[in-house]
Symmetry: C2
Subunit: 374 residues, 2 copies
């Protein structure tokens, strides 16, 4: 697997490495260097495949987080989920990584379920729908292996007493102009959405408020979320006397269709954690690929794994680098045809789903232990 | 006391009757007619002086509230207070009237303390300040004689779990354009204030949500609040399946200075419920009046009680119409000089304060019984 190709994760960003570097420059974030990975490895022992494969590729203040950690000041993790439907495999990728960070650093995790925002944003969803999905999605989170002693999942709606009291302190420092600029809101935006960025910023400071001391925060999230943290939470943290939250940014996991990330709004392009083996298999077999128009052309010119969702699934679900490299090489050379490739992925995904669904069922017994409520 | 003069309550609105009628036309509200007062009296027996003296002078759907009541459907009362400081006598006036409505109609009262809004709006106030004033002000509310079984006082901050869950349903239907138009918000307005109109609308529907059935709501409040209810709560009520809240509107109680309502931001013009007898006395003796420049001129031309705060205090604190009329007549004729007038008011107010402060102290024992929390 050539180094350059490893930067290409989304099929619609063919330029790969170049574009992501441009993103880093535009957002003003910092690429994760090999030195920084080595420094992480001193604490973690091994390096998670998603970091090794540069799915997590950019950061803000991750070095500062390590400074603090090495000086004896532990950080907590904050990530979130908008519960507008069932969890799909794309959602799980950063959760796998977050679970690894929790395990290696013994970090507490605050997991925000933004059922308020999904209700406010989506005309077709009731509050009952989104709160319901909070609990469905929480099962998938728990199935990722988070520590029940150190993981606090909360519904914005059900934890709103605590959240609102902190959110008004955030909101006092954020004008409508700011959220227009940062989130693209307009005068036609409803006032619930206008306020929501304050609710979203709260978990950056929540453990500090709950424990009465300033605690560093690390947010693992996709790179497109960066402007939100920069424009709101990082901007107002000093005004409230808190540390600015640090971030570690991932690329996207592509959907099975052409040209878009996996999306719950196009169910045929996303494999849901509640899908049956047959449904998952059918979706994979119907997937867009980086293959050629004919078998003969593929044998001659080889496939283009860099734009192929099937290949990218291997980068997420195969733990062994050599196996991933083998798929890449065989595809590129024309040795591996899409049919064989998809059949194998189907087996990998079905095995994953079987195990995940078992853990998801187990999670129902311990769900309450994870939930934070007023 | 001539009928026309009774419409003049605020010293800075000298045209009195004409202006208030203009307000009714501009806002599209309805004046309270003698017929409507007679209809109320069928249920209440007597008529409260503030209604008789037309301090409460306008309404929306009060006739509909009586239709419902007569058909066996009881209404609840909703009013509020922005706890940005201590209670002054001007605040108490609508509370006296609300207490009377509660007693006569056996109505439940939901009393919203907008400590979130006062914090968000005022750069100089902390959340601790405004929540603190919620409890200080609640003592004054209780001292007005509300029924502990039927009165629910709540801090927006401390009842925010329940409020937020309903507020998002309201907020989903209100755009930033709307709150710009109704409240005069701008892009520089903070997003907490932008959201607050949703929180303020919630109590209109709260008992209906809590009890699972549609219950009519009557809001006693100053006339300047009308656009808020019209633009938000009344506009979205049908979308959420609730009755539109009805309203009964009052004029203002003037401050002791010239040209403004009693304001906590000008402490020398307002008598606070926690003022000592001496402080109250000094404020009254230093009050602006409708008197002439010299005693001789006053004896010759008479005073102008219509623009005199001292006179207006009598209309609120003297129960006997004859006594109020006597003050008006003697002032107008030049028989009553301002010094005597103020000395008498000082006695009336000091007596009131003594009794109120006793009840306020008693209220501390029962405060918890009145407070609604998550």
């Amino acid at each position: 697997m050539p180094k350059k190709a490893s930067f290409i994760v989304t099929p619609w960003e063919v330029k790969g490495e170049v574009d992501y570097e441009k993103l880093i420059r535009e957002f003003g974030t910092t690429g994760i260097t090999d030195d920084l990975i080595d420094r992480l490895a001193k604490h973690t022992g091994d390096i998670h495949p998603l970091l090794r494969r540069k799915v997590f590729f950019s950061h803000r203040d991750l070095d500062w987080i390590l400074d603090k950690y090495e000086a004896g000041e532990k950080f907590f993790l904050y990530t979130g989920r908008g519960p507008s439907g069932h969890t799909h495999l794309g959602h799980l990728v950063p959760w796998f990584f977050t679970q690894w960070l929790q395990e290696k650093f013994g970090a507490e995790l605050y997991f925000q379920m933004t059922d308020d925002e999904k209700f406010l944003h989506n005309p077709g969803l009731t509050l009952k729908d989104t709160v319901g999905y909070t609990y469905e999605n929480a099962l998938d989170i728990i199935a990722c292996g988070f520590d029940p002693e150190k993981t606090f999942i909360f519904s914005d709606i059900e934890y709103s007493k605590t959240l609102y009291q902190i959110a008004v302190k955030v909101a006092k420092h954020i004008t409508f102009s700011t959220v227009k600029a940062v989130f693209g809101f307009e005068n036609s935006t409803n006032i619930g959405m206008a306020f929501f960025p304050a609710i979203q910023a709260v978990p950056c400071f929540l453990p500090s408020v709950l424990k009465g001391r300033n605690i560093p925060c690390l947010i693992p999230a996709a790179i497109d979320q960066d402007p939100y943290w920069r424009g709101v939470a990082r901007a107002i943290a000093p005004k409230l006397g808190f540390y600015k939250p640090a971030q570690i940014h991932s690329k996207f996991i592509p959907g099975l269709g052409k040209g878009g990330k996996m999306s719950a709004s196009e169910p045929e392009t996303a494999i849901f954690t509640v899908d049956t083996p047959k449904t998952a298999h059918d979706k994979i077999m119907n997937s867009f690929t980086g293959g050629r128009a004919t078998v003969q052309e593929q044998r001659e010119k080889g496939g283009t794994p860099d734009i192929c969702p099937v290949y990218h699934y291997y980068t997420v679900f195969l733990k062994d680098d050599k196996e991933v490299e083998e798929v890449y090489r065989r595809c590129k050379s024309g040795d591996l045809l899409c049919g064989e490739d998809k059949l194998r992925l189907s087996e990998v995904v079905k095995n994953f789903l079987k195990e995940h669904q078992r853990k998801r069922e187990e999670a129902k017994k311990v769900l309450e232990k994870f939930m934070l409520r007023d």
